[in-house]
């Protein structure tokens, strides 16, 4: 199974621009399927981006975030070739992590 996380991080001297796309159903628990049965909640609760052993972004997500969420942010520092670790954990305890290289 290919990774559920796509990351693109670009260092531009003083800071690094990060974009990420995560594949996840993000079911809110308020939606019913075609048969009228409630689709149980299944969504990401936390996402973290770590650089150099330090968390540069930590997000608490909930049912209001869209399916296959997309994140874009930038942080100070970051050098070309350095690793950036992205991890998510959902409400069912499932998790995925990926290490991306800053370009």
């Amino acid at each position: 199974m290919a990774s559920t996380i796509r990351v693109r991080a670009q260092a531009n001297g003083t800071s690094t621009d990060v974009q990420a796309l995560i594949q996840h159903p993000m079911d809110s628990g308020f939606v019913k399927d075609a048969n009228g049965a409630v689709i149980p909640p299944h969504h990401i609760e936390t996402v973290t981006f770590e650089y150099g052993g330090k968390v540069v972004l930590h997000a608490d997500w909930g049912p209001a975030v869209s399916k296959d969420p997309y994140v874009k942010f930038s942080f100070k520092g970051g050098a070309k070739g350095d690793p950036l670790v992205v991890t998510w954990v959902d409400n069912l305890g499932k998790t995925d992590t990926v290490t991306a290289k800053i370009a």
Binding site: A2, L21, Y70
Partner: protein, 289 residues
Amino acid sequence: MPNRRIRARASLRVAVLAAAVAVLGGAAPAPDKTDPLADQKAFQASFGERFPQVPFADFANGPYAVSAPMRKQWEDIMQFPPYDFALDEGKTAFETPFANGKSYADCFANKGIGVRQDFPYFDTKTGEVATLDGTINRCREANGEKPLPYQVGLMASITAYMAETSRDKPFDIKIPDDPRARAAYEDGKEYFYTRRGQLNFSCASCHVGAAGQRLRGDILAPAIGILAAFPIYRSDWGSMGTIDRRFTSCSAQMRSEPLPPQDKSYRDLEYFLSYMSNGVPISGPGTRP
């Protein structure tokens, strides 16, 4: 006596035929004579006149070809194409052999790589239009696998991968010299221009007459090249969809009961639209709002 009657009837028929030929040969052009190539030239020329600023190949990008603000958003989206995950799934499925050891590659010319632009084609054996999606399912059935549902899921992923390997190859649809092929083409053309449903729309109402204009928040894609980007990830759907899914939802939007996927009329429509788009490069899989 019966002989004479038959002869009399036959001569009458000849006379009627001669009269018909005389009318056809007259000044008035026959309205329903099938000339697909002339249709195609007129079709492409009319979109060229309507959108002089759009390079021909750019019609593969649908609404983005005719709306600068949408193009800007699209370019941002394309930094992370939302169909990426489907593409991965499709590639894996395409390369995974069936239980009998054969694979999709065995069912297609050039092992299925870079062939999207040749679909749909007219199958002279069955006398019907064969689409890419239909051919994938026939391939599965021939190898003892269950056919996939059209519209969504794995079918969209596999066609996405096959389209991706065919990018930038221009549509190359042929209408063989076969009356059945011309009939299929005519049927697709009639379907495209016929108004149906409570809102009294035809496909052409939106995608010819109002192409480039707004339908609520959306920009209507020009009919030419409209299938080049399929399958598409539609933000409105939140998932991938095939040509069948688009046709089905178009029908419903016109308040017309949709046909079953891969219905003859839908396949003929795909044949007509793709033939009209000959020369437009494949850009699929695509993303649409």
